[in-house]
């Protein structure tokens, strides 16, 4: 290019500008495509609907900790409740709930080993850095009489699956 900017005709300048703009737009496509490429469409990470044992296996007042499935199942006299065992702070697995069998959820305590968040039996944060409480999931029953926890459906901590 020999002519400087101000010597160019407006038409030439406009064409040059258009050229640059189309060049930049043409870059946008491949860049976005490459970013999109990195987001997986399918992941194979285990089930989100968890089938547990048959209903009668869980005695009233029991709290069962499923470390592998990362959920906690409460059998209370009103029915079943289930919450996540993954700490909402930074996703460590919390330790099992402690408290006398049949104790009220307000008295139960679970702690996270990573940064010490504390939760009660309603999933509420009592202490530590967790930004919110433990999620509770929908509990239902399968046709063959087993407990089913659907981790895709979050429900209120007080909601029970009644028998």
């Amino acid at each position: 290019m020999t002519a400087s900017m101000d010597e160019q005709t407006p038409r030439r300048r406009m064409l040059l500008g258009l050229g640059w703009i189309s060049f930049l737009i043409s870059l946008l496509g491949p860049v976005l495509a490459n970013v999109r490429f990195l987001f997986p469409n399918v992941v194979y990470e285990g089930e989100s609907v968890l089938k547990l044992d048959s209903l009668e296996k869980y005695t009233v007042g029991s709290i069962t900790f499923f470390a592998d499935k990362k959920i906690v199942l409460f059998r209370e006299k009103d029915g079943f409740r289930a919450c996540t065992a993954v700490c909402p702070h930074l996703r460590c697995v919390i330790s099992p709930f402690v408290g006398a069998p049949g104790a009220s959820p307000d008295i139960l305590r679970a702690r996270c080993p990573c940064h010490g968040s504390t939760f009660d039996g309603r999933g509420q944060v009592l202490g530590g850095p967790a930004p919110r409480g433990l999620d509770f999931f929908l509990v239902t029953k399968s046709p063959d009489g087993r407990v089913v926890v659907d981790t895709r459906k979050v429900v209120a901590p007080s909601e029970h699956f009644k028998l």
Binding site: V43, A67, H89, L90, P113, G128, P131
Partner: protein, 498 residues
């Protein structure tokens, strides 16, 4: 130009022949550089040496100026490339194999354990040495014009070094790896709006599994080393273009004081030196302040390299890199600790993930990158701590931060938001925690010093020293004073898990 090197008396014929024969000349084009002409020429004609100038300013060679830290960082990086490439021959990044490959390296492969140790300890050393190099550059005010952008490149190199360590940490697939990355990638999900996307991008899914392992592996062995090599190339090239290392301004030379031109009559100039404004050697710089880079710089670097290899080998021989049990996604170790250089951050994350994972790192990175553009007056370049005043301000900043951090830690143990108000809303936890409070105090303190002294450099010295000291204290707390459930313990109560 080819000059026959004169036969020195007393040196064996064989040695001179080895140094200078047809094959040697075909490779190096000249005989052994034993006269100043060849010593200058070798720096131009050798690809590996041409990074260095033909002559080096004596100030740049002072061990107490650079402490050799930049060069040591480079050597550690090279060692990591070598040992890492060898480890790759035995390591398969699959969740089913990774851990047993590590065990094989440790117990089956000849010298596998030594290589693994070398790689691990060199990585730890590099994190420390690059950080110390940054401190040296900061405290000698070497980030000032024209080196502002090289400082920014440096900050990127520092980030890349940390990312190298972080991605490498997952590869052994042991408990430490699994939970450090679970926690670390969850921190990445805290920035508002984009957080969850960043986490998904890192892990290639929602949990630390095979997708995450292969992503971390590719980043660790290809992407990040590639980025670092490019950044280092630019880093070194810019050092040359900025006229070598920073140094205190030379006392005005005869030429500058008297006659019109600042050109030194003692020097020959090349066209490149005249073409641009204030390029390298045009600074009034007397020839007697320079020495030939061969041998003075080249052999000093060689000695440093041998020293680094010697120390690393000794450490790798006596201390084995840790390898815990196989990763168990069901149970985090208790306490679950990040690698030592992230423990300070983990301590703040334990107050509030937003403060430790987003606010503090963002403040640190933005602060570091903008320092050279805020603190602009050329005061103190090339002098440790700038002046007696700078020395005092640095010292008092360090001293003042210690009680402040300790008091805040104590307050947090006994009167944290959720201890006073159980179940308090997260906003209060994010606002009122030692991390956020310290940032406000640091900003106020350094602005005050800037105003009191009227010098942005003094403000910068205070700010950097505040951050440095507090991060060191938090690292020590994370290392020695945190036990099960991240509860406060005294070092002698430690269970030995870490």
């Amino acid at each position: 130009m080819v000059t026959e090197s004169p036969q020195k008396p007393g040196r064996g014929k064989a040695v001179s022949w080895l140094r200078d024969n047809r094959v040697v000349r075909s490779i190096f084009r000249r005989g052994y550089p034993d006269n100043d002409l060849d010593r200058a020429a070798v720096m131009f004609s050798n690809f590996f040496l041409h990074v260095l100038p033909a002559r080096t300013h004596v100030h740049s060679l002072k061990p107490t100026y650079t402490w050799g830290l930049g060069v040591i960082s480079l050597f550690l990086f090279i060692i990591l490339l070598g040992t890492g490439s060898l480890l790759m021959f035995f390591y398969v990044p699959s969740t089913g194999r990774a851990y047993s490959d590590m065990k094989d390296l440790q117990f089956v492969v000849s010298y596998g354990v030594v290589l693994r140790n070398l790689h691990r300890w060199a990585a730890h050393a590099m994190v420390a040495v690059v950080f110390l190099h940054m401190c040296r550059v900061f405290y000698t005010a070497s980030y000032k014009a024209p080196r502002e952008f090289n400082w920014v490149i440096g900050v990127l190199l520092w980030g890349a070094t940390l990312m190298m360590s972080f991605t490498g940490y997952l590869l052994p697939w042991d408990q430490l790896a699994y939970w450090a990355i679970t926690v670390g990638s969850s921190i990445a999900s805290y920035p508002p709006l984009v957080g969850e996307y960043i986490r998904t991008l890192m892990l290639g899914g929602d949990t630390v599994g095979q997708n995450a392992l292969i992503r971390f592996y590719v980043m660790h062995v290809i992407v990040l080393p590639g980025i670092m090599m490019i950044l280092m190339g630019v880093h070194f090239w810019r050092i040359r273009k900025d006229g070598g290392l920073s140094r205190p301004p030379a006392p005005p030379s005869d030429a500058a004081r008297g006659e019109a031109a600042a050109f030194s009559p003692h020097k020959t100039y090349m066209l490149v030196e005249l073409a641009e404004g204030k390029t390298p050697m045009v600074d009034a710089q007397a020839p007697e302040e320079e020495v030939m880079s061969w041998p003075h710089t080249v052999f000093r670097m060689l000695v440093v390299f041998v020293g680094v290899v010697a120390v690393l080998s000794a450490v790798a021989y006596f201390f084995d890199a840790p390898l815990e049990e196989l990763a168990n996604p069901d149970h985090p170790p208790n306490p679950a600790k990040a690698p030592w250089y992230f423990l300070g951050l983990q301590e703040i994350v334990s107050y509030s993930a937003l403060a430790g994972g987003v606010i503090v790192p963002a403040a640190a990175i933005i602060g570091l990158m903008t320092i050279p553009y805020v603190d602009r007056d050329p005061e103190g370049q090339g002098t440790w701590f700038t002046s007696g005043q700078g020395r005092r301000i640095t010292l008092w900043s360090v001293v003042a931060v210690i009680p402040v951090v300790l008091v805040l830690t104590w307050l947090n143990e006994h009167y944290a938001v959720r201890i006073l108000v159980p179940g308090a809303s997260q906003i209060w936890v994010d606002l009122l925690n030692p991390g956020t409070i310290l940032i406000i105090l640091f900003a106020a303190g350094s602005l005050y010093i800037w105003r009191r002294t009227g010098s942005s450099r003094m403000g910068a010295l205070a700010l950097y020293s505040y951050f440095l000291t507090s991060y060191l204290i938090y690292t020590l707390i994370g290392l020695y004073f945190r036990g099960a459930n991240w509860a406060w313990i005294w070092p002698w109560q430690a269970t030995g898990l870490h």
